[in-house]
Amino acid sequence: MKDASVEVAGYTTLPVQLPATPTFPKPATHYLYIRPHEPRIPDPDSTRSLFLVNVPIDTTEAHIRHLFGTQLSAGRVERVQFEDVPTKKRTAAADTDTNSNKKKRKRVTADDYQTYLDDINLPSTWNRKLQKSGAHAIVIFADKPSMETSLKAATEAAKRGTTLVWGEDLPADRIPALGLQRYVAHERLQYPDRGALLRSVNEFMTTFAAVAEARKREESKRLAEPDEDGFITVSHGPKLNSVAREDEMKELVERQKKKAEGLEDFYRFQSREKRKERQNALLRRFDEDKKKLHELKARRGKIRPE
């Protein structure tokens, strides 16, 4: 039976004991599913990474480090990438066109500013984030051997049925506590102090202005340069105001409509057609009503007083 539970769908299943609490004293075993990370488009990190599925909702990077480093005494974890965090870290992958909605130019300066800008956030209101139940994470080890030993250690532990208690002996000061304390902290963090807020806002706005400035500069530079065929593209300046133009168009259409108003009955054929249309609409409505009644009967049965 133990053998059977070691592997599911190609994943090593590692049972982890969840610590019991006074409010729910029943012991519970949680199962982690582990396998080497093999993304469809491999990146330089994937060979030294493990793919973990079904991490507990309270998982932190510290938990994972502790699990592989201390509890399984195997590989050293470099970092952990959780499912819900968007992969914005463009350390090496700046060239790949990730799904950022900002317009990209092949000029380094503006993008640099942009990257910097994306990292300026309002202060977080949680001291510890939660994972969704059943979520997955990518664990990137220091090197390929540490990954391999870790996987092996996990398989061993699973086979031998070693009891691993989730987050056991993890120094309490390393991670913020769950429960009431976490919510109390949240209520405090919801209202960051004025100075911190002002700092984020100012920093953001300055950088934002710098991005705009750099973009404008690059744009005009690009416009002045002939392309490979020796042409200079003529354009009507930056298309920043597309919304304004949409509005303008709408207004134009509106005005056109107004002009045509009152002229609908100008020709006799117009009024004749209209009459016909009205008649047809009535007939159509009548047919629709019949259909409606039919559906009503199908749903509620016969029409009869309650």
């Binding site: 059977a4 592997e7 599911v8 949680h30 507990p56 953001f204 934002f208 019949k290 309650e306």
Partner: protein, 1089 residues
């Protein structure tokens, strides 16, 4: 009256229309009403083959002579279902009726004998004579005899084919005309006729009992139309499920036996002073007279109704419509149930074909369609005040205060069984129905014919029941109930709009025993309140100098009446009631006046309606009205803050609008605590950035500035900028908490209308990933909700709550209902508000509620009837719900059901004229379909409780929820909620831990977010100490391992591909997440492995 004429004219069709209508009518009638054609399979075929021309004709008819074509179609269906198949019934019954007839004809004649002998003789054959009260003395001079009936006829709706097939089977009426030879000239006085009649019917019973027993019937006596003077014989099929109809044997006399002169309404025919239960000698005995006269008119009416039905093709259909309408409103022939039933309706129609209009012209024309007849009759009932008598033929003296339609030729007031209260109720219903028929917004078909309108708790604002008094034999009950009605009406005065009494007539009883008196005991009274006057503390009587009136006032009120001098110098008799007492003023009045006039103590009558107000006070911080100081102080604080915000100088943009956007600011918060949301909009400026993150940052900068400004101007002590929705940069990220100096906390958000345009652009942008577009869609939804619709709803409700004083308490009680059934996490407050508003702005088929009880119960009733999978819920919020808007809403609804047929994102669709999109409060599984279904079933259970226990229902039962259906229940630590008893003691400390309660909310939200696929959580409001949960049933089966399985699993035993939900691990995680909040987790039944 003049309005009546105008309407009538609109109805009466122009000559060419009339011609075409009669043509169309006869053609369709020929097709559907001739008794033979009832095979339904025939009809669709015919419709299919019909050409376009014919369809146009049908349409033209439907739209011209009916309310709307859909209305007509539904009505046709209804009529088809209700038209009895007479041919079939006649063939089935003929043999039986024939046998009964022969048996009756063969009953031997009996010579005259004394009362004692007659009783003895019949007792021998096992029949007890059903004497009316008072029974004849042993020594009366007149004698009893029996002779063969002069005539035996089938009469009534069966013979006339005007009956309706309803759930209760309509009996067949067989009328026996007693030979005139049995009676003497003076038999109309002192019950002599009725005594002889009782002997006659008993003799018939004795004579036929063997035969009918053999035919499979039970023989019983029953009062005809609830009138104990006129017992009839009821032959009931012994097997309830047998297809036999019951047969009623009625007695009649020759119309000329007693002169009409003798039975006119103002004649006095009971002259013996000795009997206690009859009127004083000399008093007119109009009911007695009419009762006698109606026996004499059986054949006359039969003939006249028959000729009317021959004259007009749609007569019988109009009768079916009328019967249905009356039945849904609880009107039946017995005086105890209104005194207006099928016969009265039919007779009224036949008379209205002759005259009845303002200058004597007919109200109805034979060319009318059945709908036109129905509507014109309703219009007649609503418009013509019949307490000013209407005479057909000669005018005679009639009693005042009761409705009179005196049919001079037959000498009968056809409304003689109607009382002042039943007539007021009938007119009330007719007026409401007329309004519905004239409404162009909705077709209202359901509300006119389908809906049962007579449920007392839905119909009336307060109910009084007297289980032991005011009923008995007919004459006495009528007299006593009139006395009760007079006292109640006078005592309650203009606090009520209507006082309506209903009771039971005696049930039928076997011929060998006495009638069961208990079956008729008791009377129920329904009150319609006048919300404006109901809470008045001081009643002004007549001035002291008007001696006669003040004496009458004093004799009515007794020592309660006191002379008072008022500020304007007048000295009036007056009554003072207490508004501090636990009991409502209505109850105080009843308690006093019933004791004074009827010696009825509080134990002897039941009162219903106040409990709903008390329930609201209990859970709603003792607040009842929207005008209470608690709500007004929040309003005042808002006005003050608005002034400060408009005057801010440090902020570079000018303020366009500061909008309230919170239940606290629209009088609908159950308890006035917490932060009140407000929305600030600046004049538009081109200096705002076009980037979402930058917009959020700019908002933060503005909020900081506003906070500084308000602090320095002294409007608020320390303001704080708070953060929300941190996972998204496109949804609003920041707000400002403003503790106003009055102690009210406001939460301000900035509305920037450019966000909408940017989001809409993102939504259309094909270069963005689906996930980003989804986020934009969500952000747009959130934007519209918090910055557009919430302020609009708030605005609308602020005016509605002042227009309908009971709207605010009703909404708050309904919120408590949703709270107590743990719907808070799934159903938004705004949704509840909309569901309740409809009860007030579209109150059909009732009038707008005047009490918390009717408002609340009708809201539950409308919820219980809402087929939300198939229908949108449409609310009239701003009074602009035109048919076009409704059409638009329906189109949107259909579109939603096409996009999301499984209702994964949207279950309920609730739209209003202000918000035709209909998804603002319900999209993104607010609630999910599981929760919506639970809401429906709870509402149905509540309405069912109401139907089954109308008088002894405990209101608190409606608010008790069972935790049994849940898979697990998380009990929160009681410490978090403080001690309830101390809460009651110190009002200012009522919610000392409101911060704590925000914690519980955050916790619920966290858990729901983590386990969105596997768990559904139910939680109430801040006083609710449990969180209940159910497992998603789809997760409970083992399934193949998949990366996208979004819940914690464990490998299934003996399988290396399948996994199973890991419930203990999930509960363990929840327990650790809620450490310090949770007391324990209780697991029910099968949830455990």
């Amino acid at each position: 009256m003049s309005a009546h004429t105008v309407k009538r004219r609109k109805l009466s069709s122009s000559p060419e229309n009339a011609a075409s209508s009669s043509h169309a009518n006869s053609s369709t009638d020929a097709k559907r009403t001739s008794p033979k054609v009832t095979d339904k399979t025939d009809q669709p075929k015919r419709q299919a083959t019909r050409g376009k021309d014919e369809r146009s004709a049908e349409l033209a008819m439907a739209s011209g002579f009916y309310k709307s074509s859909f209305f007509k179609l539904q009505m046709d269906e209804l009529l088809t279902g209700l038209r009895p198949n007479y041919t079939k019934q006649v063939s089935k019954l003929q043999e039986t009726l024939h046998q009964i007839k022969t048996t009756i004809e063969n009953i031997p004649e009996k010579a005259a004998q004394s009362v004692t002998d007659a009783e003895k003789e019949l007792r021998a054959s096992g029949v007890l004579i059903p004497w009316p009260e008072p029974r004849p003395n042993k020594d009366v001079k007149y004698t009893m005899s029996y002779a063969k009936p002069a005539n035996i006829n089938v009469v009534g709706s069966f013979a006339l084919k005007t009956g309706a097939r309803t759930l209760e089977s309509r009996p067949v009426d067989l009328a026996l005309t007693m030979p005139s030879s049995l009676f003497q000239d003076k038999d109309y006085v002192n019950f002599r006729y009725f005594h002889k009649r009782a002997y006659y019917i008993a003799s018939v019973a004795a004579g036929i009992q063997e035969t009918v027993a053999a035919l499979g019937f039970d023989v019983k006596f029953a009062p005809q139309d609830g009138d104990s003077l006129r017992p009839l014989l009821l032959l009931e099929p012994r097997q309830a499920e047998s297809a036999q109809k019951s047969i009623r044997i009625l007695l009649a006399i020759d119309p000329t036996l007693f002169p009409i002169m003798r039975t006119l309404p103002m004649k006095s025919n009971i002259r013996q002073g000795s009997s206690a239960n009859s009127s004083e000698p000399g008093e007119p005995t109009s009911f007695y007279n009419a009762s006698l006269r109606s026996d004499a008119t059986v054949s006359l009416y039969h003939k006249s109704l028959y000729s009317a039905s021959k004259k007009c093709d749609s007569f019988s259909d109009a009768c079916i419509l009328g019967r249905t309408w009356l039945q849904q409103r609880g009107f039946h022939a017995p005086f105890q149930n209104g005194g207006f039933g099928g016969f009265e309706w039919t007779a009224l129609l036949s008379l209205l074909f002759e005259a009845g209009g303002p200058s004597g012209q007919p109200v109805l024309l034979p060319s009318y369609s059945c709908y036109q007849i129905f509507k014109a009759t309703i219009q007649f009932l609503a418009g013509r005040d019949l307490t000013t008598p209407l005479f057909f033929g000669q005018e005679v003296l009639v009693p005042s205060g009761v409705p009179v339609i005196f049919d001079g030729r037959r000498g009968l007031n056809i409304l003689y069984k109607m009382t002042p209260w039943s007539y007021a109720t009938l007119r009330h219903e007719a007026a409401t129905t007329l309004k519905m028929l004239n409404e162009s917004r909705e077709d209202n078909f359901d509300k006119v014919f389908i809906l049962k309108v007579d449920e007392p708790a839905l119909r009336f604002d307060r109910l009084i029941s007297f289980p032991k008094s005011f009923n008995g034999d007919t004459l006495r009950a009528l007299q006593e109930q009139t006395a009760l009605w007079q006292v109640l009406s006078r005592a309650l005065g203009d606090r009520v709009k209507l006082v309506s009494l209903t009771s039971h007539s005696i049930d039928s009883w076997p011929v060998k025993s006495k009638p069961n008196k208990r079956s008729s005991q008791g009377v129920s009274v329904g009150l319609l309140l006048n919300a404006e006057n109901v809470g008045r503390i001081v009643d002004h009587g007549p001035p002291a100098e008007e001696k006669e009136e003040s004496a009458s006032f004093r004799s009515f009120w007794g020592e309660k009446s006191e002379l008072r001098r008022f500020r304007d110098g007048s000295i009036l008799e007056s009554l003072v009631w207490s508004d501090q007492s636990e009991e409502s003023i209505i109850y105080q009045i009843l308690e006093y006046i019933l004791q004074r006039h009827f010696k009825i103590t509080t134990e002897d009558f039941g009162f219903m309606g106040d409990e709903y107000d008390q329930q609201l006070k209990k859970s709603g911080d003792d607040i009842l009205a929207y005008s209470s100081p608690a709500f007004q102080s929040i309003n005042d604080a808002f006005k003050d803050l608005e002034r400060y915000i408009r005057d801010m100088e440090e902020v570079p943009l000018t303020v366009r609008h500061l909008a309230p956007a919170s239940p606290l600011l629209r009088y609908t918060a159950l308890r006035p605590n917490g932060a009140a949301d407000i929305v600030l909009q600046f004049e538009s400026s081109s200096r705002w950035p076009d980037d979402f993150a930058a917009i959020q940052m700019t908002k933060v900068a503005f909020l900081l500035k506003i906070g500084d400004s308000l602090e320095s101007s002294g409007a608020a002590s320390s303001c704080h900028v708070g953060l929300e929705n941190e996972s998204s940069k496109v949804v609003n990220n920041a707000y400002l908490d403003i503790p106003h100096t009055s102690g009210v906390l406001f939460r301000l958000r900035i509305h920037h209308d450019r966000e909408q345009i940017l989001l809409e652009r993102n939504l259309k942008d094909r270069t963005l990933s689906p996930r980003e577009r989804e986020e934009a869609a969500y952000a747009l939804f959130a934007y519209k909700k918090s910055f557009v619709q919430t302020p609009r709803l708030t605005q609308a409700l602020r005016s509605l709550c002042t227009r309908f004083p009971l709207l605010s308490p009703t909404i708050r009680l309904t919120k408590q209902w949703f709270n107590s059934h743990l719907f808070n996490a799934q159903i938004s407050e705004e949704l509840i508000e909309l569901l309740t508003i409809r009860t007030f702005t579209q109150p059909n088929p009732w009038e707008c509620p005047s009490s918390v009880m009717t408002g609340f119960l009708r809201t539950l009733h409308s919820l219980s009837r809402w087929d939300w999978q198939q229908e949108p819920f449409v609310v009239d919020l701003g009074g602009e719900l035109s048919p076009e808007v409704t059409e638009n809403i329906r189109t949107r609804f259909t579109a939603w059901r096409n996009i999301d047929p499984a209702m994964n994102s949207l279950a309920l669709f609730v739209a209003s004229d202000v918000d035709p999109e209909g998804v603002t409060w319900t999209q993104y599984e607010m609630p999910s379909k599981v929760v919506a279904a639970r809401m429906s079933s709870l509402a149905k259970a509540a309405v069912n409780l109401l139907r089954t226990q109308p008088h002894d229902m405990e209101v608190s039962d409606l608010f008790d929820t069972s935790l049994a259906p849940y898979d697990f229940v998380i009990h929160l630590r009681p410490k978090l909620f403080g001690d309830r008893s101390s809460v009651a003691k110190f009002k200012n400390l009522a919610e000392p831990r409101s911060g704590m309660m925000a914690t519980v909310k955050s916790f619920v939200r966290d858990v729901q977010a983590c386990y969105s696929q596997s768990i559904l959580l139910f939680h109430g409001d801040e006083r609710c100490a449990v969180i209940a949960g159910i497992w998603n049933p789809q997760t409970l089966k083992p399934r193949n391992w998949h990366l996208k399985t979004a819940f914690s699993t464990a490998p299934a035993v003996d399988s290396n591909t399948q996994v199973l939900i890991n419930q203990p691990a999930i509960l363990n995680e929840i327990a650790r997440l809620g450490h310090g909040l949770i007391e324990n987790i209780e697991i029910h039944g099968t949830a455990e492995e």
